[in-house]
Subunit: 207 residues, 2 copies
């Protein structure tokens, strides 16, 4: 079957379903909507509705083939194509992200980190390159990079954000603890871990 058109809300939930399918023990062949709903603490009807929006492989009393369902979700999310991303900033967080194995399952290859500190240039434990930030334009062009992660100090973040935009990067995830303005044509997702944790602390205090 061809791809169906689905709502943004369903699209937002697909990664959660996929992440769950990937945690199932190897060899698990079928999973029911009830099983998924229970594991994710979601309503069974919504799960059934979401999955029927993207496929018709659910079989009564059997459920969904885990591998088929995962493939269908991956195709919907575009995870079956590998995207190349780079990181600006090779401090502790930048290096931790660069060597993180978990991106591969989602079709993301983190190719390199860039830093202006020569002491950091070289390779990480897993062999990924840390390069001079001067190399960013050439690297992005040669490797067709359109996605970047910012892990530099707050004071340097907006500047590197503009540099990335000039290198053809179209989507940026910002971990610097400052709010970045999106350059024209670029999507910036601000992920302020400190702010998120602080909001969570507050919620804990109120319980």
């Amino acid at each position: 079957m061809g791809k169906k058109t689905i709502s943004p809300a369903v699209l937002d939930r697909l990664p959660t379903y996929l992440a769950y399918l990937k945690t199932l023990p190897p060899g698990t062949r079928y999973i029911s909507a009830t099983g998924i709903a229970k594991a994710l603490a979601m309503g069974e009807v919504s799960v059934r509705k979401d999955l029927s929006a993207i496929c018709d492989i659910g079989r009564p009393k059997v459920g969904y083939s885990v591998s088929e369902l995962a493939e269908i979700i991956e195709a919907f999310l575009g995870y079956d194509r590998t995207d190349t991303a780079i990181i600006a900033g090779a401090g502790k967080l930048g290096r931790a992200l660069l060597d993180y194995e978990g991106f591969r399952a989602y079709g993301i290859s983190l190719a390199a980190a860039f830093d202006n500190d020569p002491a950091l240039w070289g390779k990480t434990e897993s062999g990924k390159p840390i390069l001079d930030v001067e190399n960013l334009p050439v690297f992005c062009r040669e490797n067709n990079v359109h996605v970047g992660i910012i892990a530099v100090p707050a004071s340097a973040a907006q500047d590197i954000c503009s540099k990335m935009a000039a290198c053809g990067i179209r989507a940026i995830m910002n971990f610097a603890p400052t709010h970045l303005l999106s350059p024209p044509g670029v999507t910036v997702r601000n992920e302020n871990i400190a702010t998120s944790l602080a909001q969570l602390c507050k919620s804990a205090a109120e319980i």
Copy 2:
């Protein structure tokens, strides 16, 4: 003046205002609603409305005292009290978070990380302890810890989540690439960096 009651939507935006105030050059005494709105690419009217919901220190043609406004927001968000948090998992991400300086500005003290690998026990570069996970219950009790961060592999995440709940932790930020179910009375915030990045990659592909 005493605290006013404000809407959850305003409360959600306060950390962004505070983060912006903290990026202003030292010595900046006043900032206008117009200046804040422009810097954050928000509507001026909303900024004015949000800030008047929490204080009445805005002065015509002068603006808001930066230090006073920051203090008021911090009091609203509870950042003026320090919360102690711990991390489960002392791999690269866990250690990067443990040594991250940015939490202090938001009233969060990351006290220690816990791991079951004896090779990791000891101290980080900045002198923070990495302890045996067996010590978690005593440490949480003695240090009044109610907030935890999970940075263990996906397969170990639900188990450590239950352990944290049993130790009196009431709010958990989960960085393991798996969806965790909240134990009763506990708020779990699932922060799947890989999923977020994958969604961002997809949006870049569509631009």
